[in-house]
C-alpha cells in the first residue's frame, strides 16, 4: 500500500496538502540557473514570468474549466500600467506590481460578469474578442502606450532599494522567481481551499453544481478575477525586468502561446503550466537560433503529439507512468 489509511477524514484532507519531495526538488532546481547557466539568467527570468502566466491560466482553465483565448489582455494591462506607473509616479517595483495587479484585476472583475454567463465555444469566442479588443485599444492609444513603436520611459528602481536590475539578469531572475514562488504558494493554498474544491466541482460536473446549492457563476467570476490579478503581475514583471513594454505583451499570440504551454505541461495540476512554459521557452530559444519562426513547426508537432498520446499533458503522462511503475 502506497499510503496507509488515514485515521480521520480531516487528517486525510490535511495530508493531501503536504509537500511532495518532488515539489521541493522542483523548487530547488529553479535555483540552478544562478550556478549552472549564469549566461541564461535573462531567459530564466522570462521563463519564470511566463510560467506564472501559465499558472494564472491554469486556475481558470485547469481548475474551473474556463477556456480563454484572450488571457494576454490582463498580461498587457499589467505590463503597460507598471510601465506608466514607473514613468509618471515612481519606480519602486513592488508598488508597481500592486498597481498592475489591481488594474488587471478590475478589468478581470468587470469582464467576469460576461465570461461567467457562457461556456464552451461562445466563451472561447468572447474571450478571444475581448483579447483582440484590448490589443486594439493599446494599439490606438499611441499617446499612452507608444502603440506599435513600443512603450518608452519605464524605469525601475532597485529591488528593496538595494538590488539593481543588471545586464546579466541576476536581479531580474531572483525577483521574478521570488514573485513566482510567493504567488505559487498562494495558488497552492487556493487549490486546497474550499473554493478550490468548488472550482474542481465546476470542472467535473458543471450541471450538478446548482443541484448542491452552488452558485457556479459567482465562483467563476471570482476565479477569473484572481487569474486576471496574477496575469497582471506577470505583465508588470516583464516590464520591470526589461524596462520596456510592447504590443506583443497584449497580443493574440501571447494568449495562444500560454494556452499551448499549459496544454503541453498538463492543465489542472499547478506544475503543468510551469513545466510547459519552461519547455516552450527553452525550445523557442534553441530553435529560433537555427531558424527563426520555423520553430513553431516543432511546437506544432509537439502539441499534436502530446494531445494525441498524453491527453493530460506531459505532467499527466509522467504521473501515469510513475503510477503504473509503482503498481508493479
Amino acid at each position: 500500500m502506497a499510503n496507509p489509511t488515514p485515521l480521520t477524514p480531516q487528517g486525510y484532507l490535511l495530508a493531501r496538502t503536504d509537500w511532495h519531495p518532488l515539489e521541493i526538488m522542483f523548487w530547488l532546481a529553479t535555483l540552478l540557473p544562478f550556478l549552472v547557466f549564469p549566461n541564461y539568467l535573462s531567459l530564466a527570468s522570462q521563463i519564470a514570468i511566463t510560467a506564472l502566466f501559465a499558472l494564472s491560466l491554469d486556475i481558470i482553465l485547469g481548475y474551473a474549466g474556463v477556456v480563454s483565448l484572450g488571457h494576454a489582455a490582463f498580461f498587457g494591462i499589467g505590463a503597460y500600467s507598471a510601465g506608466l506607473f514607473s514613468k509618471f509616479v515612481w519606480g519602486e517595483p513592488f508598488s508597481g506590481l500592486l498597481v498592475a495587479a489591481t488594474l488587471a484585476g478590475l478589468f478581470g472583475y468587470a469582464t467576469s460578469f460576461i465570461i461567467s454567463r457562457f461556456r464552451h465555444l461562445p466563451l472561447i469566442m468572447i474571450t478571444l474578442g475581448l483579447g483582440l479588443l484590448a490589443h486594439e485599444v493599446a494599439n490606438s492609444a499611441h499617446w499612452l502606450t507608444g502603440g506599435s513603436d513600443g512603450f518608452q520611459g519605464a524605469r525601475t528602481d532597485p529591488v528593496f532599494g538595494l538590488f539593481r536590475f543588471d545586464l546579466y539578469g541576476k536581479t531580474a531572475y531572483a525577483y521574478s522567481l521570488g514573485v513566482l514562488f510567493i504567488v505559487f504558494l498562494c495558488a497552492r493554498r487556493l487549490i486546497h481551499s474550499p473554493f478550490g474544491l468548488a472550482l474542481r466541482g465546476i470542472r467535473e460536473n458543471f450541471n450538478r453544481m446548482p443541484a448542491i446549492g452552488a452558485d457556479s457563476r459567482a465562483h467563476i467570476r471570482k476565479a477569473y478575477t484572481i487569474a486576471a490579478v496574477i496575469a497582471g503581475i506577470c505583465g508588470a514583471l516583464l516590464t520591470q525586468t526589461t524596462n520596456s513594454a510592447s504590443l506583443e505583451s497584449i497580443s493574440f499570440q501571447r494568449s495562444a502561446d500560454v494556452l499551448v504551454m499549459l496544454v503541453l505541461g498538463g492543465a489542472g495540476r499547478l506544475y503543468g503550466g510551469l513545466i510547459g512554459a519552461a519547455i516552450f521557452m527553452i525550445a523557442r530559444d534553441q530553435f529560433s537560433g537555427i531558424a527563426p519562426q520555423f520553430w513553431y513547426f516543432w511546437i506544432g508537432v509537439l502539441l499534436v503529439a502530446v494531445v494525441m498520446f498524453l491527453p493530460n499533458g506531459i505532467l499527466g503522462g509522467l504521473s501515469a507512468i510513475v503510477a503504473r511503475w509503482r503498481r508493479k
Binding site: 480531516q10 487556493l190 486546497h192 478550490g196 468548488a198 466541482g201 450538478r208 446548482p210 446549492g213 459567482a218
Partner: protein, 259 residues
C-alpha cells in the same frame, strides 16, 4: 388571490398550482397540482414519457414553467434559481448519475456541505481546518454505507455505490423536501431493495417524492401514489386505491402483477 393560494399551501412542504410547460405543440406538463405534506413518502409513477422527470426539473428550477406556481413551505419559489431553491431546502437526485468523476465521495460530499454552510467562497483557507464540515460529510457517507469507499475516486466505485452517492450529495444540502428520480435506476433488482432501505431510513421530517418503475418497491415504500399520464395528473391515492383503480391498470400497470 395569491394570498389565498399561499394560505392554502401553507400546510404542505411542497405544492404546485397549475404548473404547465410545453415544447412547441408538445405539452410535457399540463396544469399540475400537487400537495406534499410534511414527512410524506410519495411515489410518482406513469408510463415512459409521462413527464415525471420534467416535473422534477420544473419543481427544482432546471426548467422554467410556462405557467403555474411552485410553493416550498408556503413560500413561492417559482422565480428562484435552482441553487436558491436548494438553499431553501429543496434537493433532488438524478436518474442518470450526475457525479464528480475525479473527486472521491468525501470530497464531493464535503463540497456540498461547504456550499450549504457558505464557506465555499473561502479561497485563503486550507479546507482541512473545517473539521465540522468534513466530519458532517463523512457521517453522511457512513449513514449511506459509503464510509469504506470515502477515499476512492468516484469513477472507480461500483454502480450501486454511485447511486447511493447521488443520494448522499442531495442529503448534504440538508433538504426539507427530497425528490428522487429513480434512485435505483440501473441497479439489479436484488440490490434495489438496499437503496430503498436507505431511502426508507431517512428522517421522518424529510418529505420525499420518488419516481420508480418497480411496482413492488412503490407499493412497499410509498404512502401515497401520484399517476402521471401525458403530462397531467391522471389520478392519485393510497397504494390500495391505485392498485384497485381499473383506469390505472389500463394506462400503466397493463397486465403486470403486483404485491
Amino acid at each position: 388571490m395569491s394570498a389565498i393560494d399561499t394560505s392554502a399551501s401553507a400546510g404542505f412542504a411542497l405544492s404546485t398550482r397549475g404548473l404547465s410547460r410545453s415544447f412547441g405543440s408538445l405539452v410535457v406538463a399540463r396544469d399540475i397540482e400537487l400537495n406534499l405534506p410534511v414527512g410524506a413518502r410519495y411515489a410518482l409513477i406513469g408510463p415512459n414519457g409521462a413527464g415525471k422527470t420534467t416535473l422534477i426539473n420544473l419543481m427544482t428550477g432546471m426548467l422554467a414553467p410556462n405557467a403555474g406556481q411552485i410553493m416550498l413551505g408556503g413560500q413561492d419559489i417559482t422565480d428562484l434559481s435552482p441553487q436558491a431553491r436548494v438553499k431553501l431546502g429543496l434537493a433532488r437526485t438524478f436518474q442518470i448519475n450526475s457525479l464528480f468523476a475525479h473527486l472521491n465521495p468525501l470530497e464531493a460530499v464535503t463540497l456540498a456541505v461547504c456550499e450549504r454552510r457558505g464557506i465555499s467562497p473561502r479561497f485563503w483557507q486550507n479546507i482541512a481546518v473545517n473539521k465540522d464540515a468534513i466530519e458532517e460529510a463523512y457521517d453522511i457517507l457512513v449513514r449511506l454505507k459509503l464510509g469504506d469507499c470515502a477515499y476512492q475516486p468516484t469513477r472507480e466505485l461500483p454502480y450501486g455505490r454511485q447511486r447511493l452517492l447521488e443520494i448522499a450529495l442531495a442529503l448534504a444540502t440538508k433538504p426539507k423536501v427530497l425528490l428522487l428520480d429513480e434512485p435505483a435506476a440501473g441497479v439489479p433488482q436484488e440490490e434495489s431493495g438496499d437503496i430503498f432501505e436507505v431511502v426508507a431510513s431517512l428522517s421522518n421530517d424529510l418529505t420525499l417524492l420518488f419516481i420508480e418503475h418497480d411496482m413492488h418497491v412503490v407499493f412497499r415504500f410509498a404512502t401515497h401514489i401520484i399517476v402521471l399520464v401525458g403530462g397531467a395528473v391522471f389520478t392519485e391515492g393510497s397504494p390500495a386505491e391505485i392498485a384497485a383503480d381499473p383506469g390505472v391498470r389500463e394506462v400503466y400497470l397493463g397486465k403486470r402483477h403486483h404485491g
